[in-house]
């Protein structure tokens, strides 16, 4: 969960990228890492397999600047999307403040997207969270590919709550910061509501 430290005057929040295997979660973080200036970011840590699939998590700490005298930090995490890493996914959700669901727009991945949303809901429940209560946005990634599901259909299948959504091509950076910014705003506004 968020951490407000009055002594060092810092606010930290945890944002998790969730979604099926190969949907582009790690690619989102890599793009953010590439674009953020060195003094605003820490090291990006990827606990990955030899074939660059996420094994436990990716971690990227951002310290973008101060607001009202408080340094605001966002700690970005990705989960491993492959189905058999469910135990790890559960652990990463501990203390989450906001979730970005990255959906793979390819027709043949729709089933995997739906399974992953169900899995997200289930794993949040284990931490006594409801997805409905959490800052949550959806990113429709891989829009550059030929076999993508029309946006309207994706919305109907994956976004019954009508949360904010973004189309993206993560390797090119399209939609990446838009998605992050939106959930970051929601997270801080939610904190504000609670304080």
């Amino acid at each position: 969960m968020s951490f407000i430290n009055y002594s060092s005057r810092e606010i930290s929040c945890k944002i998790v990228y969730y979604g099926p295997g190969l949907c582009g979660k790690t690619t989102n973080l890599q793009h953010i890492y590439k674009k953020i200036s060195p003094d605003s970011k820490g090291k990006m840590i990827s606990l990955a397999t030899e074939t660059e699939r996420t094994l436990f998590f990716d971690f990227l700490p951002l310290a973008l600047g101060s607001v009202k005298g408080f340094k605001v930090r966002f700690h970005l995490y990705t989960v491993p999307g492959q189905i058999f890493y469910d135990a790890s996914r559960k652990l990463i959700l501990r203390g989450v403040d906001g979730v970005i669901f990255v959906a793979d727009s390819q027709v043949e991945r729709m089933e995997a997207n739906l399974e992953s949303v169900d899995n997200l809901v289930k794993n949040l429940k284990e931490h006594d969270f409801n997805l409905e209560d959490l800052p949550y946005v959806i990113q429709y990634n891989k829009r550059d590919l030929g076999n993508v599901v029309p946006l309207k259909e994706m919305e109907e299948a994956l976004n019954p709550r009508k949360v904010p959504y973004f189309e993206a091509v993560a390797p090119k950076g399209e939609g990446v910061f838009e998605t992050l910014k939106d959930v970051a705003k929601m997270v801080i506004m939610e904190l504000k509501k609670k304080s």
């Binding site: 407000i4 945890k14 700490p61 801080i188 609670k194």
Partner: protein, 163 residues
Amino acid sequence: MLNPGLVLYEEDSKLIDKELQKLNQLSRSKVSFLVDKDGQLISCVGETNGIDTTSLASLTAGNIAATGGMAKLLGEKEFSILFHEGEKDNIHISLVGQRAILVVIFDERSSLGLIRLRVKRSVSALTEVFDRVTKKMDKINSEEDGDSPLTEITEDDIENLFS
């Protein structure tokens, strides 16, 4: 939401720093730090130059979470102490109550026995501090407090952080 974020005020923060400093000195360690179970660094003392404490904090929390998962599978409540031995440096990790993790990095200037002894004492001191912090947070949550830095933050402020 059931799990409110951690809020740390100056006085408690100072107590934590002081306890860590004492621990670091008496145990002859290189670095001692305290991490929230969610992976955020709470305090850090010692020879921190050249050490990426933010990454260490996140990996420590991951490590504790993973061994906690293993414990559950075995029907254990948790493993409250972890120890990693390296060629030069060693890491000793222990739980502080429900919320925090104490990490001590030491080399041949100290010994596992000394670390164990000093860590045990600090854990009970830090647990007391955390109990107080938790009580304070409960009180604030039920009281509606006005001096949070967040009350004046706007969406535009966050937007500007990214530009």
